[in-house]
Amino acid sequence: MKVLTLNFLTCAVKACKSSPASHPLHPKDAELVQDELEVNPDMIVNVLPRLDWTALRTTSSELGFPPLPDQPPTAEELEADDKKLKDLHHLLLETSISEGKLVCGNCGHEYAVKEGIANFLLPSHLV
């Protein structure tokens, strides 16, 4: 489960849909793996405006990364500064959670992550 995906995931429980606390999901007992991937600058620039930067800051601090700046970088900054782009790429795409749990901040439901696959199946009374 890449950090990029985690930034878009919300709690699947119906009652949490309207609550702002259901996003982002909080990683718990997370084991991280790093993969080498080719940098895809166009893709990052494309996704940048849709990233929830506050959520990303929360996630990265919970995963034990150095704090991110308050404001998201702009597309021009990323194109000019190769280091910034690499760092963001490393955090978003190369870092992934392989084992652990994702916890909803609203209802406390825990989604298990095994071998990088999160289990979002719900019992039918929660749908």
Partner: protein, 280 residues
């Protein structure tokens, strides 16, 4: 061909052996690959994007998304959802690049609003039409799926879902569910009338102005060998103006309405709605 949808639920049907068979069968691989390419053509993505693969299975279609070259506006980053653990297990062994999620699309799409540039689904959504337990219905699952998908796509985003409907009724049910969720929807049929017919449900979000055209038909604008058939209902009451009370047409309408309510209605004959002769 037999329909696995009729026998078992997706997560039960695709067990370890069935998932392996599905993935290693070169005929299925070829068909899936050509359908994915066709879907990509319909999506017409201008730059590397974030794509949701609905019912990704073992990642046969996702592989193609990651393998696109920069000339083809790729490679795309994708997130796959599937309900069958065995299929995802095969995907893990094949070392696909996308992120995988074990989730039932009939329970909704657990992403926040406006997450994805596009969504793709190859031979998956017909599974929604078979509800396996008493507390879910096909209609409910379809509406949860399409509502979730609609929310998770960004404005101007597109989704292409290839599916195998069992009959016309199922085709209609799926399309109507998509329209009800707010999508602009169109059906594209490849090789119509043959055994190899392939049906693509093309969905658009919000963007009312696709390549200058006001509606869904703009998606296939400029594509070769595509005929547009518009069967949308034109203005409903062509006669114009309210029906005259007491006229034959009005009586027929009332009778129809009562019949639909389940009332007992006299059969319609040639005398229905006729004036009595004054001599009577």
């Amino acid at each position: 061909m037999s329909r696995p949808e009729d026998t078992l639920a997706a997560d039960v049907y695709y067990d370890d052996s069935e998932a392996r068979k599905y993935t290693t069968n070169s005929r299925i691989q070829n068909i899936q690959a050509s359908m994915t390419r066709r879907a990509l053509e319909l999506l017409d993505l201008p730059h590397p994007s974030l794509i949701l693969d609905v019912g990704c299975g073992s990642g046969l279609s996702g592989e193609i998304l990651s393998a696109l070259t920069p000339e083809e506006n790729g490679p795309h980053v994708w997130v796959g959802m599937d309900v069958s653990p065995s299929m995802l297990d095969v995907a893990l062994q094949r070392d696909v690049e996308g992120d995988l999620l074990l989730a039932d699309i009939g329970q909704g799409v657990p992403f926040r609003a406006g997450s994805f540039d596009a969504a793709i689904s190859i031979s998956a959504i017909q599974w929604l039409c078979s509800a396996e337990s008493s507390d879910t219905s096909p209609a409910g699952r379809l509406s949860r799926f399409f509502n979730g998908l609609y929310a998770s796509l960004k404005r101007g985003g597109r989704a292409v879902c290839q599916f195998y409907p069992k009959n016309d009724q199922q085709k209609k049910m799926i399309t109507e569910a998509a329209v009800r969720a707010g999508f602009g929807a169109g059906l594209l049929e490849d090789d119509p009338g043959t055994k190899n017919v392939k049906l693509y449900l093309v969905l658009t979000v919000g963007g009312t102005n696709i390549e200058g055209k006001g509606d869904i038909t703009g998606v296939v604008e400029g594509m070769e060998g595509v005929d547009v058939m518009d069967i949308r209902r034109k203005a409903k009451n062509l006669g114009g103006g309210p029906m005259k009370k007491g006229s034959k047409a009005w009586i027929m309408q009332q009778k129809g309405r009562m019949e639909r309510k389940g009332r007992i209605v006299k059969a319609t004959s040639k005398y229905t709605g006729r004036k009595r002769r004054p001599a009577f």
